[in-house]
Symmetry: C2
Subunit: 218 residues, 2 copies
Amino acid sequence: MEAPNPVSENSDSKSSRTRQRILKAAAGIFRQQGYTSASLREIAESAGMQAGSLYYHFDSKEDLAEAVMDEGVAAARRSAEQALAALGGGEDALSAIEAAFRGHLAYLLEESDFAVATLRMLHQTPEAIRKRHTRKQRQFGQFYAGLFKQARRDGLIRDDFDLSALRMLLLGALNWSPEWFDEGRLTAEQLVHQLSMMMRNGLMPPRLRVVPGAATAR
Amino acid sequence: MEAPNPVSENSDSKSSRTRQRILKAAAGIFRQQGYTSASLREIAESAGMQAGSLYYHFDSKEDLAEAVMDEGVAAARRSAEQALAALGGGEDALSAIEAAFRGHLAYLLEESDFAVATLRMLHQTPEAIRKRHTRKQRQFGQFYAGLFKQARRDGLIRDDFDLSALRMLLLGALNWSPEWFDEGRLTAEQLVHQLSMMMRNGLMPPRLRVVPGAATAR
């Protein structure tokens, strides 16, 4: 095998950095304006480059929109998986869910343009893009579904919970947070800790808790 | 006092019905297309009327967009308050929150166009509209803040919860549900019941629960 060519390696990583810069600028513009009114010219300007150079990386606005949405899901998932891997494997299945939430939320709040732009533009993009992207979101959902199933197998989630509804409610709490989160008050970690306390023990002091079924029947 | 004029009463209620029909059509179009690309002509068509007649009720697209967003918040709040009032007043403060959630979610899922359209277009509307509407959303938030404060005063929410973060997480779970809810599987009521079980007792079977602090410290 040959040694890697340092020139092409450098230009590859430069190209990848430029691509990331464009994606970030595009996420900001799409977040503000939605898909339909955003222009490639404005996105190029916000990325500090000529519109012509942008075409070297992305063929069209559609292409760029899809890349922004896909990057948002892929990076959120990487962040969730890294936080999970950092636990080292000896944790219980609820701790695994909490770690994934922590990584996921840290990304959502740090790079909120991607999540909010996706929410605003998904239904404005052409159907083929929407379908492909929705499939990727669903794959990320399956990652979580696996964690929830494990928690149930381990006896950590009661039988009266519908696993799929529970997962979507908790992910909704996470996904909504870029809309209101105020960095000054809490960190992403403290926010996940709030969810986590509720998941483990509910809201009430121990002396008030009763056997499920009695408290929750109607 | 004179008896009400039956002619003008009828035409008032006819006018109000037409207004509602336009709002509903507009919510559907804004949901699909966002604010910028939606046209009054299309909205009129979807409401089964001429664009000219639409102008009798709304001055402009801006005016109509604001009315759609405001109606979404106002109707969600009415639905939450009605569900709360129906309890009759003898309930504990967590049951009050759950009832408000139930009414709120029933509306969100039944008239999901309003919630989803608002989410998609709020940041595309002119700043003055956005500010006025955000104030109305915040007033609705204050309604919930009052219920959460009462629950804490009554000792039903532990001190280690940040009331504002908790409220926003739970409302996020609610607000996100029109994005994924599938009517075939669960009713709105069953969905709120899942949240409610988690709020009261957490996810775990009673035998596994430990004193908060021990379980949740890191």
